[in-house]
């Protein structure tokens, strides 16, 4: 079971995450707390840019453990996720032994599959590092065969390497699995995990997060941007902005020396928050409304 660094309630964990620069609401704090206490992977689903990956980073900081990240993509396979043998180095070793006139074939073969020729990929590294936070990012991008394989590793927390033996995690890593929902992830994998749907933040939380990330920003600007972003989310866009976009937007505005949002500034910086030409076109005519105060 993972060490929760003394956090005995979800509230306390939320506080610690806060110190690490991550503002978690009650639901997320509870889900993360349960994941730590129950020793189960946390499956985080939600729109892009709501802070799924950032949670894993914050957890690593709270637990004072390294963050090991496995970025999933189509075609990711066991060799890229678990381990691989460093063949070129093995070959060099073989050549060197040959040159030195080594004749004990059995010993040589044994040497070739030594730990030092093993390249640990994220999953093996996470099992060998105690404690650690393992982030399996965007699992929905991997093939479904990979899910089945991951399920096996996450249930047993052991990896068997034919030439070397079985590696078992002393303390299982804290696992955060994220998905953007581009496809449905198998129930079997989800069942192993605790599930949390991470929604867009409320206005108050958004302001708080912006100010947390960019301490120098004026309250007025944070308020203005949060309000505008909330409106954009309600505006039925192709890609509604996430928390990450709000922060980008404030950063862009701050770079221009802004202390509040005006129609002119908004028009010039829309690219920081809208990622589709169609969305930009739609909003351009209504910028005044967007930045207007209620």
């Amino acid at each position: 079971m993972a060490d929760t660094e003394g956090a005995t309630t979800p509230g306390e964990l939320a506080q610690r995450l806060d110190t690490a620069g991550y503002l978690a609401d009650e639901g997320l704090a509870t889900a993360a707390f349960l994941a730590l206490r129950m020793g189960r992977p946390l499956f985080l689903e939600g729109e892009a840019g709501v802070g799924k990956t950032a949670l894993a980073q914050a957890l690593a900081e709270v637990l004072d453990a390294p963050l090991i990240r496995l970025q999933c993509y189509e075609g990711v396979d066991a060799a890229q996720a678990l381990y691989d043998w460093d063949f070129p180095r093995q070959l060099l070793h073989l050549r060197a032994a040959e040159a030195a006139g080594v004749t004990d074939v059995e010993r040589l073969e044994h040497e070739l599959y030594d730990r030092r020729f093993l390249l640990a990929r994220p999953l093996l590294r996470a099992l060998e590092t105690t404690p650690s936070v393992l982030l399996v990012d965007e699992i929905d991008r991997a093939d479904d065969e990979f899910e089945a394989f991951l399920l096996e590793v996450l249930s047993e927390f052991t990896i068997s390497i034919p030439e070397l033996g079985t590696v078992r995690a002393g303390t299982p890593p804290v696992v955060v699995v994220t998905s953007n929902r581009t496809r449905e992830v198998h129930d079997a994998l989800k069942r192993r995990c605790l599930y949390h749907w991470l929604a867009h933040p409320t206005f108050e939380r958004e302001v708080a997060v912006i100010r947390r990330h960019l301490p120098g920003v004026s309250e007025r600007l944070a308020d203005d941007v949060a309000r505008a972003v909330q409106r954009l989310r309600a505006a039925d866009l192709l890609k509604p902005p996430g928390l990450a976009e709000s922060i980008d937007w404030v950063t862009a505005l701050t770079a221009l020396g802004a202390t509040e949002l005006s129609a002119d500034l908004a028009t010039r910086t829309l690219g920081a928050v809208l990622k589709y030409q169609e969305d930009t076109e739609r909003v351009t005519g209504e910028v005044a409304e967007l930045v207007g105060r209620p």
């Binding site: 979800p10 009650e26 639901g27 509870t30 889900a31 707390f33 349960l34 206490r37 129950m38 189960r40 689903e45 993509y73 189509e74 075609g75 396979d77 060799a79 691989d84 043998w85 063949f87 070129p88 093995q90 070959l91 073989l94 050549r95 040959e98 070739l112 929905d140 093939d143 479904d144 953007n180 929902r181 581009t182 496809r183 449905e184 129930d187 989800k190 069942r191 605790l194 599930y195 949390h196 749907w197 192709l238 890609k239």
Partner: protein, 390 residues
């Protein structure tokens, strides 16, 4: 599980009973709640304590739910069960939901399944020639028995999708040298390069996505198309099926059942808007917002089964079709009226959509469905994107 504060046993029993009752209610509402999840919730309650309602809410939500849809149902059932909603006696036995009017009748011919095999050879020949007669008939005009016969053939079709290269490489006799495997084999031969191993990119079938119109004007054909989609789900597990009408319904889960009759009954119980109107543009938009853009339609072959009778404005449909065409590899539109001589796509919806459609095919008969299956299967890489829309 050491170091936990012990809680009074009497309370525990009550909590267990309540959780079980709640889980049963949740399952009745359509959320998949296997015992392992219920155990997880009890474990979570042990960790959080069950003295207050909010921890109970979050303990259940993180352990019993597996998707956003589950969360929505969960919220509803939780409010009803633990208060906040209409008060109900907590230990009332969960009643299974009232069977909705099932538009697709369970077909005795389906249930008998492979009864065919027991037929005498002459009977089988008779069946074969009979299906030859039925092949070109419009399914809307068939008697119930004939339609059932045709549907059994539709269920046996093997719709596939064109394939594409994948990032992953596979061992192959030709292609670039696979350094990893070559060196590995060299190790086995004392470092001598005995053979060069090669690899090449694998190929994978593209995803098939069905959007089937179940509005009134399509009533006679929707079932046939659903059966076709079910056949596709069986051959290609990644296939996604949605129905459109007055609302978008995802029926992929239901159609994953093997048995066609059971799958169709489950799907039609899910579909709320049989024989309603069509707001194709709006629903296409909903599909793209919720599923398509995230990845379901990306590089996929999308089959839209509709007659294009659009109640909403054609502008919305055109906009959304343009969006879809930028995501999908190919759009095949199945319009049952296409099967008639002299048909021209004159409805507003059809005219708006046509510039973005790669193939417009009929879907009114078994022959048309066979053609559709073949079209999806073959028609390799050229020909895709051949449409010239302005």
């Amino acid at each position: 599980m050491s170091g936990r504060a012990p809680s009074p046993v009497a309370v525990d029993v009550a909590v267990d009973t309540q959780v079980l009752g709640f889980a049963r209610r949740l399952a009745a509402a359509g959320v998949d709640v296997p015992p392992t999840r219920v155990h997880a919730m009890l474990e979570a309650l042990d960790v959080l304590g069950a003295a207050e309602l909010r921890p109970v809410y979050w303990a259940g939500r993180t352990t019993l739910c597996g998707s956003l849809e589950d969360v929505e149902t969960y919220d509803r059932v939780f409010a009803a069960y633990f208060g906040g909603g209409p008060a109900r006696p907590p230990n009332r036995v969960a009643v299974p939901p009232v069977q909705r009017l099932v538009a697709v009748p369970v077909d005795p011919a389906d249930v008998s399944g492979d009864g065919d095999d027991r037929d005498a050879p002459e009977q089988r020949i008779a069946t074969a020639s009979r299906i030859e007669v039925l092949r070109h008939r419009d399914v809307a005009t068939l008697s119930a028995a004939d339609r059932a016969e045709v549907h059994r053939y539709v269920s046996a079709l093997l719709p596939a999708a064109p394939d594409r290269t994948t990032r992953r490489r596979k061992p192959s006799p030709s292609g670039p040298v696979d350094a990893r495997r070559t060196v590995r084999s060299m190790l086995r031969h004392g470092g001598e390069p005995v053979e060069l191993r090669r690899h090449s990119h694998g190929r994978r079938q593209r995803r098939l996505v069905f959007l089937i119109d179940v509005s009134g004007s399509m009533a006679a054909y929707a079932e046939t198309l659903l059966r076709f989609a079910h056949a596709a789900c069986r051959v290609r597990p990644g296939t996604e099926v949605f129905t459109v009408g007055t609302r978008l319904t995802r029926v992929t889960r239901e159609l994953r059942r093997r048995d066609p009759a059971a799958a169709l009954a489950a799907a039609s119980a899910t579909i709320d808007d049989w024989s309603g109107g069509t707001r194709l543009g709006d629903e296409l938009k909903e599909f793209l917002d919720r599923w398509g853009q995230r990845g379901t339609a990306r590089g996929a072959v999308v089959v839209i089964g509709s007659d294009g009778w659009e109640r909403g404005g054609p502008e919305q449909l055109a906009t959304q079709m343009a969006r879809l065409s930028r995501l999908a590899r190919r759009i095949v539109w199945v319009n049952p009226h296409r099967g008639y001589i002299g048909y021209s796509p004159s409805t507003g919806g059809m005219r708006a959509a046509l510039p973005y459609v790669d193939r417009l095919v009929a879907g009114h008969s078994l022959a048309a469905m066979q053609e559709l299956a073949g079209l999806l299967d073959s028609s390799g890489r050229e020909g895709d994107r051949a449409r010239g829309h302005a």
